[in-house]
Symmetry: C2
Subunit: 182 residues, 2 copies
Amino acid sequence: MDTNQEKILEKAQERVIETLARNMDLYGITMSTGLLYGTLLFQDKSMTLDEMGEALGMSKTSMSTGVRTLMDLNMVEKIWKKGTRKDHYEVNLDWYQNFIDLFSVKWRHACEHNVHALKKSLQELRTLQQTEELTEEISERVDLSIKRIENGLEYYLWLSRLIDSFESHDIFQFVPKKENES
Amino acid sequence: MDTNQEKILEKAQERVIETLARNMDLYGITMSTGLLYGTLLFQDKSMTLDEMGEALGMSKTSMSTGVRTLMDLNMVEKIWKKGTRKDHYEVNLDWYQNFIDLFSVKWRHACEHNVHALKKSLQELRTLQQTEELTEEISERVDLSIKRIENGLEYYLWLSRLIDSFESHDIFQFVPKKENES
DNA sequence: AAGTACGTAAAGTTTTTTCTGAACGCTGAA
DNA sequence: TTCAGCGTTCAGAAAAAACTTTACGTACTT
């Protein structure tokens, strides 16, 4: 039964697609966009926006925004096809790199913002602590705040180094891509 | 000016609180819950739900759910105070551990789900491939799907090992907590 | 046992996000 | 130049999430 075989195949694909999509909120990706990614994943050809809309039963507009989200994370690439005016897209199959790009894009960004705010406030508080005569009560609160901020700063500097090790791929020295590899 | 000093202090705190909160969507944490975390961070005493609601100008119910979210991620702990019937909460100050717990709770969970789905579909497809007579067209699609799934599986097993290295704290051998530490 | 204080569940409201359909601008073809 | 096909912007509709109010169950107090 040809149809039966196809059903098995598609069911197997759909399970994967749906599961992956459901867990992609960790990447800040919405479920529908996750489904789009999954759909592209099992395509041996690149897809156009119309084909995606067809496959998911959604509007072309949604496909456009979804595909852009995925491109921002380097999970999908635009492909040049001569002879057609439509844009073609296909998945970037290097999941390791996807993971790394995610961290680069999102976590690095947050990390920098946080470090900046922490440093700025830390400096203000240190100045306050040194230049002004503080009541004991205020002084204690300032001290505590400084301690908390220094504590957080230390962590974010660590996180930054961790992200460095992802970006440089040094992490693979520590956690190799394949388990039993020399 | 006592009031002026307090203003400087509070502004410094608020900058940190707001920045941290804003970037906590990476942890799957809503901004208000992030603000709650930040508020607790600069408290040298534990807080009750009522105090939190007071501090943030929000309902006690919201504080209840917010604090639960933070507890699920081990970012906040419930403290026993004798003499009062109210629950008291305070932040867990070990940010490294917070980060690790986040990965344990969320990423590990997603990882396991995905591995499970990938393995199940992989097995189905391998069975299909071996036991049935397939048309060439179907056979190719099955082969491609298997390749994609194996590829993803390899990545998730790596991710799983990465998370292991967080949970076991081995990661700190590779990326030390403090930069210039022997 | 009755009353009070507390945390949380449930239902409803408001706000935010996601999705769609229409309209626009651009590019290549006739 | 005009027209058709494409991706995207924009405004509005639908769906989801966050927040609040009300109500409930439990545990301590009297």
